[in-house]
Symmetry: C2
Subunit: 308 residues, 2 copies
């Protein structure tokens, strides 16, 4: 309520870039992360706002995750539930939210030290899952996802106070240059792209399919892309793409026969848990943004057998 | 009328791959093309069904083509004309047909020996322009174009008897891996993907925006992509992508700020000029498919100054 709005956006504001006032890496010494990341990797993450860790999960682990994905997409109990988001045209399930709550496999994965240990280290705090998602970008008809900073939405619509959160996308299929890979603008996380417009009621219902508010202006995007270039995150299955909550990203469509699937966890610092939204609307529901049900994660060591 | 249908498709046929019964390279000796292409390039074209010639046009020439593109997109006389195709959503002009007839610059370009000389050589015949097009895939909102073989449509809807035609796409902007480049399946031109369905009346009006017939089945595409892989045609502005009339190709959307523009000429062998369509519909109009107005091209030597 009385929380100061460090990053005002929408509500009649003009589109512009403002400096980020929060750190990217909260660890005071990169060596604190030595168990997981080299100092070079930490420096790269600080500079670019993202990094790719290749071959983190074994072929067998990936198989378990994909089996679980297939099971959930076919789960009749899930169809029609809020958590399951379908393609605008085909009606096929495209995303399932809150998988750390509804799937034992992905619940375990969220606390895997290979993920949660890094999140805890980079944010230098206890962490919890702000949002989790299973993304299935089908072959032939995978839709594009327009440029956005996650933080803008999490801040305005969820009331996340500061930039002290990060996302981890675990690739379940190979992400090639042709199947609509995640594209990022390196360095874009150091500025906050203020968006125009107002937040309409129940915006999340439409925005999970196609975002229309919290979308940066074309001029700002052109400027940012010119400064930074655009990098596609190409990786084999079993890799982890770690990206800062404020890095500009998006993806093109996918007409290739190869689906692009991933599991996606947003780790937020306990000290940064959401407050009242910074807009005139009620908070988004629990399955898109944890608010009441917040569980501090204890990173656990898993081995290949753990996911069977 | 009494022309034999060598490549029947639609009209109740089942989706399947049939062998191509026409040559790819009609020149009897690759050395006949020595003025334009090395024997290796000819062999590659025969094998893959496409090739990229880099840096064919100078920076100055590309500037002339782009100026002409910009002029035409703003030409109020063109807006609302059949030749100008707009984006389904935004209404922005996305393609202009028949540019070799309505633009003096692109009329000259169509007869440039760097293009027409190669077409004539590969097809070993006099050539004319079956179709020409200016494609403008805008930044931020460029739409995808689904997989297709051009020949299937040209055969069924235009009555092109044999596979003795090729396309040349002259890049007017850089084609990067991120801005929805042309994707091709190498070797796919050696089979004909029979499509299902019937050809509806005035199909071309809808299909120029979004194709629904003459679209290969997903199973066939998966099989072809597995066999051949998928290659993105990446090239700087001023390059030429030459591809066989029957190679499977398509492109993803473009959310990057960088537009992807090209001029596109289809060279058909004079001996292969269109007859009656191989479907129950009247032929498509002249601006999509030359029928009455056929002019044999005499390749001409141009230098940089010629396009000013």
């Amino acid at each position: 309520m009385s929380e100061i709005d460090k990053y005002p956006s929408r509500a009649g504001r003009k589109a512009r870039l403002e400096p980020r006032v929060d750190p990217v890496v909260y660890a005071l010494d990169p060596l604190e992360l030595a168990a997981h990341l080299t100092p070079d990797q930490v420096a790269q993450y600080e500079r670019d706002g993202f990094m790719i860790l290749h071959d983190v999960f074994s072929v067998e682990e990936v198989r378990c995750f994909r089996d679980e994905l297939d099971r959930m997409r076919r789960d009749v109990n899930l169809q029609g539930h809020d958590e399951a988001i379908s393609e605008p045209d085909s009606g096929e399930i495209r995303s399932i939210f809150s998988v750390h709550n509804i799937s034992p496999v992905f619940s375990r994965l969220a606390s895997d030290a290979r993920l949660a240990g890094i999140a805890q280290g980079l944010l230098n705090d206890g962490v919890y899952i702000h949002q989790s998602r299973l993304n299935y970008k089908p072959g032939f008809s995978g839709k594009e996802f327009y440029w956005h900073s996650d933080f803008e939405t999490w801040h305005v619509e969820d009331g996340m106070p500061a930039m002290r959160a990060l996302s981890m996308s675990i690739t379940l299929t190979e992400n090639t240059q042709n199947n609509g890979p995640l594209m990022l603008m390196p360095g874009s996380h150091k500025h906050y792209a203020v968006c125009t417009g107002k937040t309409p009621a129940n915006h999340y219902l439409a925005s999970l399919k196609k975002q229309e508010y919290g979308v940066p202006e074309a001029d700002l995007l052109t400027k940012m892309a010119k400064q930074s270039g655009i990098v596609s995150a190409l990786a084999k299955a079993g890799s982890v793409i770690i990206f800062d909550c404020n890095v500009m990203h998006g993806s093109n469509s996918n007409i290739t026969p190869d689906p692009r699937s991933n599991v996606f966890f947003v780790y937020n610092a306990i000290s940064n848990r959401v407050a009242e939204p910074f807009c005139e609307q009620p908070p988004r529901p629990e399955y898109v943004s944890s608010r009441r049900h917040i569980e501090r994660i204890t990173p656990r060591q898993f081995d290949t057998g753990s996911y069977r």
